[in-house]
Symmetry: C2
């Protein structure tokens, strides 16, 4: 897919001015993309502790100051209320609307979180020549609810970890472990390899989110913790208000994917 | 130094019953040791965001539930009020007392934080044959305030990063980078190698905390982010009450040092 926008800044400007409300997959190649969660400060505490206890599914890249909608870390001065192509507003855990900006909904006690996304490590895998089946087949990565529980925190009860799956040859699976362990800030190394039963997944051909992909003879399914996990945990606990990005409509930052490689 | 206690549980029991109030260096060999910070929930938010923004100096291993003094992650059911050999109570940023337990001081809105400590990666360095000068010379590791600023968070203003220093041959310095990068949960890889001026350290022979150590001909100083950083940041912001462990009198957990190696 050919990118419409070369940089995160260009894409955010287009989103802000109302000229872009589409998916961000393939946009601003090499720039970090992130999941958005906005909660009131009261609920934000539980969310941040939940993320600290479950770093693989909930890799936090940036936490805003209370009441401040401007980013400072993964992008310089982006406005979290306008610079994402599409949002979802959840009231008491139910989806209420899907607006293109949330300026009028912003509250003085809001805190935003930006969480790492597998696009970042997929970029590293592709660069290393590890093929990604869902890209080859032009579909979304398959995602599954597992029997593995995340540790609870406050009102965020223990809840299931969600994983994404990529089928790989054993040799590529080993390389994928080596590569993704270098990216602890964006889910890190896999949580499981092989038999889906080990995660309590009954039918690998029926993902709960995304699309099924072909697992070829001799390939093993490789499972990574998935950023849907924290949104699921938050929804189950039914906060009075939560705002997220709409699926596939991510925040696109200024930082490069490679900057999330483990380092100083 | 010969350990008096074989396990973290034994040491914590001795601290709880008043039979041990000493330094924990060398105790329960191979068990993780951790720095303690207790704040009210109101201040805990700023502290947790500060830590998220500065993971190298502030590696958080466990956050307690609000009002709950029991650990669940790095030790099973340790009582944070009694199981550390010695505490420090700071009122409005000033040291007020140094009690052996804090049961009567515990508040319903207290949150405890346990933060990683360089003992964990030093264990890994020693196992790999990388010599530690301060151990060879029987002194504390030298620590320095730097000109490098940590990102602020809420009432925790931008404040200087504190570093510890170990002199190594260039070959050992390279191995030390390789080894400690595997421990992002306990400060990770160094923040600087070589000229102390690069960190704004004027006189390497005069550390601000700990003791000076010999830098031999052909060795380079290697600097790691240090767990004193968050305590310094907290004190500067003068919370009404903060409780920490007394220096050298650490929390000793059940988890093994090697469990903090980067992995699933």
């Amino acid at each position: 897919m050919k990118a419409m926008y070369r940089t995160g800044r260009e894409l955010r400007q287009a989103a802000r001015s109302g000229n872009f409300s589409g998916h961000t997959s393939g946009e601003a190649p090499g720039s970090v993309q992130a999941n958005l969660v906005i909660l009131t400060r009261d609920w934000a505490w539980d969310f941040l502790v939940f993320a600290q206890r479950n770093p693989k599914p909930c890799p936090i890249l940036e936490v805003g100051e209370v009441g401040d909608p401007l980013t400072r870390i993964i992008a310089d001065g982006a406005d979290i209320r306008t610079d994402i192509p599409r949002y979802r507003v959840y009231i008491d855990g139910d989806l209420a609307e899907e607006p293109l900006e949330i300026t009028s909904r912003w509250q003085e006690d809001f805190v935003f979180f930006l969480l790492g996304c597998s696009f970042t490590f997929e970029h590293a895998l592709s660069e290393a020549g590890v093929p990604l089946r869902h890209n080859q087949e032009g579909v979304n990565v398959p995602m599954y609810r597992t029997a593995r529980e995340c540790a609870g925190a406050g009102r965020f009860k223990a809840s299931p970890m969600v994983v994404s799956m990529r089928p790989l040859t054993p040799a590529d699976a080993i390389r994928a472990v080596e590569i993704t362990r270098e990216y602890p800030g964006v889910h890190g190394s896999p949580v499981h390899i092989g038999d889906p039963d080990g995660l309590g997944i009954a039918d690998i051909t029926r993902p709960e989110w995304g699309d099924p992909v072909t697992i070829r003879q001799g390939e093993v399914p490789v499972f990574w913790a998935c950023g849907i996990t924290p949104q699921l945990a938050a929804l189950v606990s039914r906060p009075p208000i939560m705002i997220t990005h709409a699926p596939g409509h991510m925040f696109v930052g200024d930082k490069a994917d490679y900057e999330f490689r483990l380092s100083g």
